[in-house]
Subunit: 211 residues, 2 copies
């Protein structure tokens, strides 16, 4: 089972490493990090680089595609080569998936038209522009399309997909191995739960440079 | 603020990317992935490589050290160069931390003697050999030493440390940005919660190759 993890300049690291940590433990998994060109690809903060072992063109028939999000999404949304590749591989994937703003790339490729999908809470509304139906759920399954909300939600998506493919018991084993028994020290992980002024600061982009 | 993320052959990817995603968003953070030699370093499943931009010797005075765990720990525990570096930098760090079996490296370097510490549930008991006091908690703080349990617990540790350094509000902002509102599809993330036969399978190392 070939799994393509799609990265690009200024992707968000946890978007892709969350599902990687779970999906790479599927029986018979072979995972390839892939980018437009092979070589090191820098994450959004500029510090972490992961190696894309293959260029997109070297991976024509992955079984599973996972598209990362991140500030770089808004550049990639204009990248015809990437969108063409997504359309082409989607013709033969068993699962086409995304984390965070990565769903905008699936949507821009025309793959989510008329489908329910999610995204980072800050980019959720953009899905409508491409004919997808945004929902605020953390993990959304519509046919063979799985989309996850922001950043850390890719862990939940990966575990969900492991269960679908290899059964509940294997997914539980992966959860136990990765000791995924979350105990966040705060309860501010969604716009509904976080202090309202923080949500507003993000919407006006004043606290972090997001793009 | 200089943050060293310590990796080595067969580290576990999420161990280091979890805290990276949170700590890299501290005000003034500069994060360096560091290994014995600079260059690509492969994670335990063999698929993901991250770039160590610096060799250990090039980073003599990090403010924060984060040591990843993974199957490679048991090789590194004999690596005098790494243990020497850990001892040397610990003399001037403000925080010395680990995720998963990474705590065994801190312990082997003599840094956790007489201290409360945690580790992956499968490696917790090894801490005693080095004079540390193991506890099954997910994140343990003892003085300037923070240790986290298995793999995904590094996210909770990172967020805890962001709160200690930059205040609760900044940590909440990071939690909101990373949409860390976990909703695992199963409840098997600790040996107390998982089916007993899975715990036993791991203890006898029959389901996954862990080392």
């Amino acid at each position: 089972m070939q799994i393509a993890m799609v990265v690009y300049d200024r992707f968000t690291a946890l978007d892709v490493v969350g599902p990687y940590e779970t999906l790479s433990r599927l029986p018979g998994a072979r995972v390839d990090f892939v980018a437009e060109q092979a070589g090191p690809v820098r994450a959004d903060t500029g510090f972490l680089a992961v190696t894309a072992d293959k260029a997109l063109g070297e991976l024509p028939h992955p079984d599973i595609v996972v598209v990362a999000g991140g500030p770089g999404t808004f550049t990639q949304i204009e990248n015809g080569a990437l969108l063409d590749w997504l359309r082409a591989v989607d013709a033969t994937t068993t699962w086409t998936t995304s984390v965070c703003s990565g769903s905008l790339l699936l949507a821009a490729a025309g793959l989510l038209e008329g489908r329910r999908a999610t995204s980072h809470w800050l980019t959720l509304d953009f899905l409508k522009q491409y004919g997808a139906e945004p929902t605020g759920e953390r993990v959304v399954t519509d046919g063979k399309y799985l989309t996850a909300a922001g950043v850390s939600s890719g862990i939940d998506m990966g575990l969900t997909l492991v269960g679908r493919i290899a059964g509940d018991e294997h997914a539980q084993a992966v959860q136990l191995l990765t000791e995924y028994d979350p105990q966040p020290p705060y309860d501010a992980g969604s716009p509904e739960k976080a202090p309202a002024h923080l949500v507003e600061e993000f919407r006006t982009n004043s606290r972090f440079s997001l793009v």
